[in-house]
């Protein structure tokens, strides 16, 4: 299967230091890929580069075979959804306004004006979309009155409003409680299984990766040290070295589970 989104030998530098070095990673249709690694390994930088938010010093990122720079911006941003690690809007906008901005993103002209034509509403309208995210009665509430879970769902609804075939999510589970994490991962899995969109998800919880992701890629100090199917990668002793801990491994319903212990 050909890659939806692929980084080809991508190096990203900031201030003379390589944050990501010669990383090659590809995402195929129907996949949920976990990007894991210790803090500072370059996970966010690689994800931002894949999203087109960071320009690599060398190497290329291709979307559907075409370099990112070769895509018209509106078409590109409608195909790649990016979920940032932390999101704090500067104004107290409503969930409806946020989802509207997410849904209308192809309509932004180069000077930031509004194109006439397709309205900001996705198919079926913002209300229908919001219902799928359990936000129906929260749509017109200002951001400051929403709970953490509601904020996470509203942001995800905005990012997914254009049904992007690729979702890049930077630690989406970090601020969520266990039930919300479960719902999020189940949603991403279901999207991928239905062929509606593949995802790269930065995760800290390896057991979430084991349970929900087809593939796991491990970054350490800017380099991809492991990349493959979840089971084999998570059983690989190189994983212990990458994180600097010793994992005790057990099997649960055919899946590996990892229990970190002191080095």
């Amino acid at each position: 299967m050909s890659a939806l989104l692929a980084a080809e030998s991508v190096t990203v530098r900031r201030g003379g230091r390589a944050l990501v070095e010669a990383a090659s990673l590809s995402l195929r249709a129907g996949e949920v890929l976990a990007l894991v690694g210790p803090n500072g390994a370059g996970k966010s930088t690689l994800l931002r580069t894949l999203a087109g938010l960071e320009t690599p010093a060398s190497g290329t990122v291709r979307l559907e075979g075409r370099p990112l720079a070769g895509w018209p911006v509106p078409a590109r941003v409608r195909r790649i959804g990016y979920l940032p690690q932390s999101f704090t809007p500067h104004w107290d906008l409503t969930a409806r306004a946020l989802i509207g901005l997410g849904a209308g993103r192809g309509a932004v002209l180069p000077w930031g004006g509004t194109a006439s034509g397709p309205a900001d509403a996705p198919d079926g309208g913002i209300d229908a979309l919001a219902a799928g995210f359990d936000l129906a009665d929260r749509l017109d509430r200002p951001w400051s009155t929403l709970s953490g879970g509601e904020r996470g769902r509203a942001l995800l609804a905005a990012v997914l409003a254009t049904e992007p075939p690729v979702l890049l999510a930077d630690e989406p589970a970090a601020a969520l409680d266990i039930a919300q994490q479960l719902r999020l991962m189940r949603r991403l899995r279901a999207r991928a299984d239905a062929g509606r969109g593949a995802a790269i998800v930065v995760l800290h919880d390896l057991n979430l990766a084991a349970r929900w992701c087809d593939r796991v890629a491990v970054l350490r100090a800017g380099r991809l040290v492991l990349d493959g199917e979840s089971g084999p990668v998570l059983r690989d002793p190189a994983l212990d070295a990458a994180f600097g801990v010793r994992f005790r491994r057990t099997a649960e319903a055919g899946r590996v589970m990892l229990w970190p212990e002191e080095g």
Binding site: R48, A51, G52, L53, V73, P74, R76, V77, I80, G81, Y82, P84, F87, T88, P89, H90, W91, D92, L93, T94, A97, L98, L101, G102, G104, R105, G106, V108, P110, W111, G112, G113, T114, P142
Partner: protein, 323 residues
């Protein structure tokens, strides 16, 4: 949208009544129905154009504030506080006092625009270079630039003035104030307000996106750097227009967008026109107070707005600090 639009005629009526001899509400009917009466003629010839000029300057101040707060993503940003207006005033002072090869009616607005643009760009650059995009850092960078510009303006006034040019005209810039315009002048000013609105409104969606943070804005397709440059350019145009016509009037640019957001929410497509309407209303009222407070003298408009706006600023600051 309703409330700000309702405010306009109300503020206009009150402002027309206010003045060296303040009229009662009952006189409004006479003014409207009997334009030949001596009092009516006086009011129509002098007070109405003055009130309308104040409205236009206030609309520009409100627009400038909405653009600045949007670009800086900061509810405390305001052209007067962040050096934009100060830069325009330096340009205007140069235009008035320096011997230039250009005619004054051309040099004044051009230099004011260049000053506003340069100062705003400088604040943005300083804040970014120091990594100070958060509220206090940005304000500090702005206040420092505004202070330097204020000193530069004073120096220019001292260095360039002689008997041939009156310092009075330049001083009125410093304190802020609206002159009574001729009807053609008023037409030009009104046209400027429409132009400013036309320049600001297409930026609404971009400002909304920018408010989500730069990464989020970029991932939703906004060319962030290019958009900010463009918005600063539009903001400088609006600020320069307001300074050329009304001098240094503070705090209306701070209050108007706040009141707009408070009533209508943060979407810029609504905040921008509402801030113009609210700014116009505030300026008409403040200018009315300036004319009526110490008859027959007038107190400077900037003094009235600072008296009200200063405490308002502190209130907003306290609320931001608590967030």
């Amino acid at each position: 949208m309703k409330l700000p639009l309702l405010l306009l005629p109300l503020a206009f009526a009150v402002a027309v009544l206010l003045g060296a001899d303040t009229l009662g509400p009952g006189d409004l009917l006479a003014l409207a129905t009997d334009p030949a009466a001596p009092l009516s003629r006086l009011v129509w010839a002098w007070r109405v154009p003055r009130v309308l000029a104040a409205a236009c300057v206030g609309a520009l101040l409100g627009l400038g504030g909405a653009l600045f707060q949007g670009v800086f993503r900061n509810p405390l940003a305001e052209p007067y506080l962040l050096g934009g207006a100060g830069g325009a005033a330096v340009g205007a002072t140069l235009g008035l006092l320096a011997p230039l090869p250009l005619p004054a009616p051309l040099a004044l607005p051009l230099l004011a625009f260049a000053g506003a643009w340069g100062a705003t760009g400088l604040v943005l650059l300083l804040a970014r270079a120091a990594g100070l995009v958060a509220v206090p850092g940005l304000l500090l960078a702005g206040v420092a630039v505004a202070a330097v510009l204020g000193a530069a303006r004073s120096f220019l006034m001292l260095a360039l003035s002689d008997e041939t040019v009156s310092l009075q005209a330049v001083l009125s810039w410093t304190l802020g104030g609206v002159q009574t315009p001729s009807w053609p002048e008023l037409g030009g000013l009104a046209l400027l307000v429409l132009l400013a609105l036309a320049a600001a409104l297409p930026l609404a969606r971009g400002l909304d996106l920018l408010g989500l943070g730069e990464d989020m804005a970029a991932s939703l397709g906004l060319p962030v750097a290019r958009f900010v440059r463009l918005a600063v350019l539009a903001g400088a145009f609006v600020v320069a227009a307001s300074v050329v016509w009304g001098g240094l009037v503070g705090f209306i640019g701070l209050m108007a967008p706040h009141l707009a957001r408070w009533r209508l929410g943060p979407a810029h497509a609504r905040v921008i026109p509402a801030a113009a309407a609210i700014g116009a209303s505030l300026a008409m009222l403040a200018d009315g107070v300036a004319r009526a407070a110490l008859p027959p003298a007038e107190i400077p408009l900037g003094l009235v707005t600072a008296l009200v706006g200063g405490p308002f600023f502190l209130l907003v600051l306290a609320r931001e600090a608590r967030r």
